[in-house]
Amino acid sequence: MGALLGVLPFFAYTTIFLGIPTLIVVVGAFVDGNGQPTLGNLSALAQPQIVSAFVHSVVLSAVTAVLGASFGALLAYAVSTAREGSLMRRLVASACGVLAQFGGVTLAFAFIATFSSQGFLTLWLKKYGIDLAGSNWLYDPYKGLVLVYTYFQIPLMLIVFLPAVEGLRPQWREATESLGGSTWNYWRHVGGPILAPSFIGAMLLLFTNAFSAYATAYALISQGSPIIPLQIGGTLSSEVILGQENIGKAMALGMVAIVAVVMTLYVVLQRRTTKWLGS
């Protein structure tokens, strides 16, 4: 019993700042403005702008997870061929550490400086007759946001995937070669299957990372709320419409549900891959 006292502070803290907030979201999603139980908040999720925000968010996160994972894995492999402790490795790792966390406002401003109507690239391309500013593509969730998000997805992939790539032993490659295997054979039958579970795991982490990203889109987009985190943020700041707050909780519950589906998928997939690898 005395031993349990030692972990009491940790459980008390996480209950207050993690358990209770989660409970508030779950319960609030099923309660109306007067505290009466209702399913109205959930049916409010069928509003066209909320549905389209969910669709935008899921597609945006999936596309940038695949893009970020592919390029990030390529970068991680390239960096892993450098000597451990070399300057290139340190530079890339530190830069990725900053870029993965400094997404948000800094990234949005960087994009304004680059692609807005007065941006560096826009003005530069204008000289050659190419017009970037016209179509407002930067604020489109499927064009501009995809490009913006890859700027924090690739660095995050490097951070989470580099340890896995470092686990590949040169001896495996040599063994493949001494058996007459080509580079393609090595990746198809040795390197690929070994990295597959961590690659998929990292990709799903990237999905949830993009799915929950709020700051970048908030700082970049001044009109409308095309993705779900912005919709939820909107319900928090506008207290005019009664019951709107609980629709926010229903949307939050929807986000958690989607992440939970992704995580379940991950567990199932990983069980499969370990079975394949084991046989």
């Binding site: 030692g6 502070p9 940790f10 459980f11 803290y13 996480t14 207050i16 700042f17 993690l18 209770i20 907030p21 409970l23 508030i24 979201v25 609030g28 390029f71 390529l74 970068l75 390239a78 960096v79 061929t81 450098a82 290139m88 340190r90 890339v92 790792a93 530190s94 830069a95 550490g97 900053v98 993965a100 966390q101 400094f102 948000g104 406002v105 800094t106 401003f109 960087a110 994009f111 400086a113 680059t114 007065q118 941006g119 560096f120 040169p170 040599e174 949830t208 929950s212 709020y214 700051a215 908030y218 700082a219 985190p229 939820i232 943020g233 939050a252 986000m255 958690v256 992440v259 939970a260």
Partner: protein
């Protein structure tokens, strides 16, 4: 020496090509930020924006929000890292020593924030923070209480790796049999042995707290990112310069820390 010379050269070529192309992709917005902030009104170049940014008396007088934001973020970083370490290191050590049964539960709780988006946490935290404001006041510093939750997964992984690499049980039992109390065991035995892990946990927390925007913005509190965003509405050129400056600062700090961590490790392996 195990690789063939030709493959080694080919690998080096591949490495430079990939890092070069992706590096260019990332360099573009940074170059654009430099270009944007050095524009002179009539065309041409000027360093006026950067001179203003580093002229602290002007910043204090004309842009007080930036000063508030920097101070708040510095305080938040310190407070978050302190609470995180004071709570996690003893708990994780204790669990390894006396309660191996709850280890999976602690791990589950610590990794849970990865699956709960920050925006969802904000929704649920709003009533909790009403109480925090009631008991502790409205200060931006109390955001640290929520930031600890955000850094839990990263800190847990780093500390778990560090504690896994040492023999916690033997160390603690030897210290106890020599008459040390639990605080002494934590402070003088465990902590020095997981120094690298503590450093890397602290490091990830610092990067996360300095970049945090969502919670601070939605609770209308000050921090660095909120201040930069606010500045963007008044003076976009200065805001972009500030954003770039703080990003470079964070990069330099991270790079320096990567040298500190590794030189410690190598000097220790030389000793043994």
């Amino acid at each position: 020496m195990s690789l063939h010379g030709t493959r080694r050269r080919r690998q080096a070529g591949f490495r430079w090509a990939v890092v070069g192309v992706i590096g260019l992709f990332f360099a573009l917005p940074i170059v654009a930020m430099v270009e944007f902030t050095t524009r002179a009104p009539g065309g041409g170049r000027t360093l006026d924006t950067w001179a203003t940014l580093f002229n602290f008396s002007v910043i204090d007088a004309d842009y007080p929000e930036l000063q508030h934001g920097v101070l708040a973020s510095a305080g938040l970083t310190l407070l978050t890292v302190t609470i995180m370490l004071v709570m996690l290191v003893p708990t994780m050590t204790w669990v390894r020593l006396r309660l191996p049964g709850v280890r999976r539960l602690v791990e589950f709780i610590c990794l849970l924030p990865l699956t709960i988006p920050a925006i969802v946490l904000v929704v649920g935290l709003a009533p909790v923070y009403a109480w925090v404001a009631y008991f502790l006041g409205e200060s931006s510093l109390w955001l640290a209480l929520a930031y600890v939750i955000l850094v839990l997964p990263y800190a847990y992984r780093a500390l778990d790796a560090g504690l896994g690499a040492i023999d916690v049980k033997t160390l603690a039992e030897s210290a106890r049999s020599l008459g040390a109390g639990w605080p002494t065991v934590m402070w003088r035995i465990i902590l020095p042995n997981v120094r690298t892990a503590v450093l890397s946990a602290a490091f990830l927390s610092v990067a996360l707290v300095l970049g945090e925007f969502t919670i601070a913005s939605l609770f209308s509190r000050d921090n660095l990112q909120v201040a930069i965003n606010l500045l963007g509405k008044r003076d976009s050129s200065l805001a972009i310069a500030a954003a770039l400056a703080f990003m470079i600062l964070a990069f330099v700090v991270l790079l320096a820390m990567s040298f500190v961590g590794s030189s410690r490790r190598s000097s220790r392996s030389e000793e043994s």
